[in-house]
């Protein structure tokens, strides 16, 4: 019963909470830059505007592919919030990304194609650590099931701090934060116009944005399961630390410049090897 409620809460609440977090992100970013910034609910005004725009479709496929991206992200998140297999959740997450890449590659704009290529590189950069993280959860708790992982007497983070650090870096890539926003960026200007989303307009772009809100909540959900254990107060700790993690991502976004794709790729793999790999080795030795 709790599973059903939490899945429904995710499916309904994630776009709302994600949009609200995006609004916070924009306001906090503006304050960091000494500006007043947009209203807190600006992302929802943007969405309602986008749904009322004319559909300028470059082809009939793109809207469908974006919808697949949205649906798969919703499924991946629903699996996490249902307490199901975290490995499966991560596989569906990367499948969702594939649909976004195909959607961007399906139109004729060269900027969009470059964006799709770079997104592919980002997926390759992120994938090893997400898999190691799932293995880490298994070594720590003896199960891939999220409901078992969060029912341990001690939080998983005690055994896997390196993987948490690695995941923090990967999260910046997944949330398209600087210095890892080379495929497309939430900031106004980019060397490749808007990268992935260059030829997405109106409702097509709105669907992509809603999918990103699902992704924000999914990422924060994964951060949360590092901290949640059998005690009730660990949930509060996890909530607070999710907020801290999101704030740190925003801070990082504002203080760093965009990296080239090669540096991004090398950087992510070095973090994976050092933080993730050593953590896994230690886990295997002490087990």
């Amino acid at each position: 019963m709790i599973q059903v409620i939490s899945v429904i809460a995710y499916l309904v609440g994630a776009p709302l909470l994600g949009g609200f977090l995006d609004g916070c992100d924009r306001t906090v970013s503006a304050r960091m830059q000494g500006r007043q910034g947009p209203p807190l609910l600006q992302p929802f005004y943007d969405l309602s505007k986008l749904f009322h725009k004319q559909i300028l479709a470059v082809n009939s496929l793109q809207l469908l592919l974006n919808l697949c991206y949205l649906v798969l992200l919703a499924i991946a998140g629903a699996m996490l919030f249902a307490g199901a297999d975290i490995l499966m959740c991560l596989f569906i997450l990367s499948t969702a990304d594939m649909f976004l890449i195909v959607a961007a590659a399906s139109d004729s704009s060269p900027y969009s194609s470059i964006g799709a290529n770079r997104e592919m590189i980002q997926v390759m950069a992120c994938e090893p650590l997400t898999l190691l993280m799932a293995v880490g959860f298994y070594l720590t708790t003896g199960s891939f099931q999220v409901k078992d992982i969060i029912a341990q007497p001690v939080s998983a983070v005690v055994m896997m701090p390196g993987l948490l650090f690695g995941f923090f870096v990967i999260m910046a890539v997944k949330l398209r934060k600087s210095p890892f926003d080379c495929a497309t960026s939430h900031h106004a200007h980019q060397e490749i116009v808007k990268g992935l989303t260059t030829e997405m307009s109106g409702p097509t772009f709105a669907i992509m944005n809603i999918a990103e809100y699902y992704e924000i909540i999914l990422m924060l959900g994964i951060v949360a399961i590092f901290f949640i254990n059998a005690t009730w107060w660990s949930w509060i700790v996890a909530l607070v630390l999710c907020a801290v993690a999101f704030f740190l991502e925003t801070l990082w976004d504002n203080i760093s410049a965009r990296l080239k794709w090669m540096t991004l790729f090398k950087g992510c793999w070095i973090v994976t090897l050092l933080a993730g790999g050593i953590n896994i080795l230690v886990l295997m030795l002490i087990r």
Partner: protein, 148 residues
């Protein structure tokens, strides 16, 4: 502001300006003027833009570009001509290569005079454009309903 368009995204194009007005347009995004407080976002992508901001008069080379950018923007959309050159051609009006203001090529909704137009004037022009944008949006909705 309640009924006005709350999320207008700007696209800025330089027709043949001396860059004076362009610098003032960029000044609007700085902390002092901060147009993002109106939800305005300076995008570089015509597919996602609502307001086209053009500086400088139009010459034979920029004519096709302006027409193409305008055609790539989805409805509803508005055009703001920033600076006297974009309004009428300004001091370059008589030049052999200048066609005149932006309205010789595409329909213009708001004219912002000045040489260079001050950031306050540009923001005022954009806020006036929001009213027109809201009206166009309502018309567009009605047309869509009538069509469907």
């Amino acid at each position: 502001m309640a009924k006005l368009a709350k999320s207008p995204w700007l696209l800025h194009y330089d027709g043949s300006s001396c860059n004076g007005c362009d610098i003032e347009v960029l000044a609007c995004t700085t902390p002092v003027y901060d147009i993002e407080r109106f939800g305005i976002y300076n995008t570089g992508d015509p597919f996602q833009a609502d307001i086209l901001l053009i500086t400088g008069g139009i010459n034979s080379q920029s004519e096709s570009v302006v027409k193409q950018i305008y055609s790539q923007m989805p409805e509803p959309k508005v055009v703001v001509a920033v600076g006297i050159c974009a309004c009428t051609g300004g001091v370059f009006k008589e030049c052999y290569n200048i066609k005149g203001g932006v309205d010789t090529v595409i329909p213009v909704d708001v004219y912002v005079p000045g040489c260079a137009a001050r950031p306050q004037a540009i923001i005022d022009g954009v806020v006036q454009a929001l009213e027109i944008l809201q009206k166009k949006r309502d018309d567009f909705e009605q047309k869509k309903k009538a069509g469907a």
